[in-house]
Amino acid sequence: MQIKGYARPNGDYGIRNHLLIIPTVICSNQVSNRIMQMVPDTVAIPHQHGCSQIGADKERTFETLAGTGKNPNVGAVLIVSLGCEVVDPYELAREIGKTGKRVEVIDIQECGGSIKAIQRGAELAREMRRELDAMQPEPIPAGILRIGVKCGGSDATSGIASNPALGVASDLLIAEGGTVVISETTEIIGAEHVLARRCASPEVADQLYRFVERFEREVARMGADMRGGNPSPGNIAGGLSTIEEKSLGCISKCGTAPIVGAFEYAAPIPGKGLYFMDSPGNDIECVSGMAASGVHLVCFTTGRGTPTGAPVVPVIKITGNKLTYERMTDNMDVDVSGILDGVLSMEEAGRLIWNEILETASGKLTKAEILGHTEFSINRIGPSL
């Protein structure tokens, strides 16, 4: 099974060839956006953070930005700094530069304001874009692929159709020697014992339980019932009654392979096979964390329908709800609702998703990519100062 990839200097392959513009801090968002507008085929990741942060919270922001830059779908990076923020732009450039890709830094204070910084940034971006456009993708084995599996805007069809179908596709990728990352700690609450039985070692199972306990402590600290926040009002309208029910429907999306490891939000994926990444269920924070961990693409099941995309990774939208597919065809890539009508077997539905993965990994644009959905969000674990 072959796909098409761009060779990176560190031996990895990307299925896209993005020029990424990273603001180190919210203060450089506008300059970053202006550069993106001036130079076609660039993508910026404006965000709210990068300053007034300390400790593990600061590290998490840094790791998410660095990981997004290191993602193999990114060919080159332009970092836009204000000049006085907490996230050190040169440290960020050094970290991303370990992959061997070109990284440039501009500093708004040093450039002498927004207009001069936009000009300098656009000049650099144009030059880097030219270099990337000279590259050609080459045939590579599908087994190099690392995919994230995610569900969002779930309804009852997610648990009985789209998630188990995605599980079939996950198993097909693992059989090719590939890598699958499942996440959403919130949404394994009530189902962690099922996943723990599938962990390759007691240490991995312990880590999984630790992630869940940490999350549940945070909910207890808020003094509230999760229900209403997760399951969300839309989940409840769709027939999901409790977090346990939602979780049990969620976990089938990662198939049946053993879980070989569990790692922190946005940390690099440690190896091949099926992994768990700690993350909230929040769609954008989760997908952003997966992209920062190094996945090439994300398969995203939805019952209610959601437009979510991501800046550097294609997001394939899969639904088992026929009405949603028909109403939101703008956003949906794969329809597996035939499972519920008895006209599509789970195996056939999994193959449909697998084919979409192979085509997307060979250059076919997802609907989220065509529509320019590049939502990006960084998980916070501390207060702003």
């Binding site: 648990g159 009985i160 003094g223």
Partner: protein, 111 residues
């Protein structure tokens, strides 16, 4: 998980241990539905409307009893539920993620 779902079934029971079936279409109170459970098709009279994707009890559930779907516990009944009744947030509650109970001094149930 069934490999495929028979065309024409109104609802699906995911696991043989489950108390509930999931509606595969909007179902009306008073109607007699056909639901799939493993390889069997069984019938049930509905006491209430069950919207698409929502759950219907396929057997009586006592107040306080743990409710199963996917063969696992999805919550606890807060009232007696009769076969054919709608099972949702009005008559079952989550056991996990209950910060509200922790705030009231309730014990943390790790099941």
């Amino acid at each position: 998980m069934a490999k495929s779902i028979e065309a024409g079934a109104d609802a699906l029971v995911v696991d043989a241990q489950d108390h509930v079936a999931t509606a595969l279409k909007d179902l009306k109170a008073g109607s007699r539905i056909r639901y799939r459970r493993g390889t069997e098709i069984e019938q049930l009279a509905l006491l209430q409307d069950i919207p698409f994707g929502h759950k219907v009890a396929i057997r009586a559930i006592e107040a306080g009893e743990e409710v199963r779907k996917y063969g696992e516990v999805i919550g606890r009944a807060t009232a007696h539920i009769r076969p054919g009744e709608h099972v949702h947030v009005h008559n079952i509650e989550g056991i996990r993620g209950r910060g509200d109970q922790a705030a009231e001094g309730g014990s943390h149930d790790a099941n």
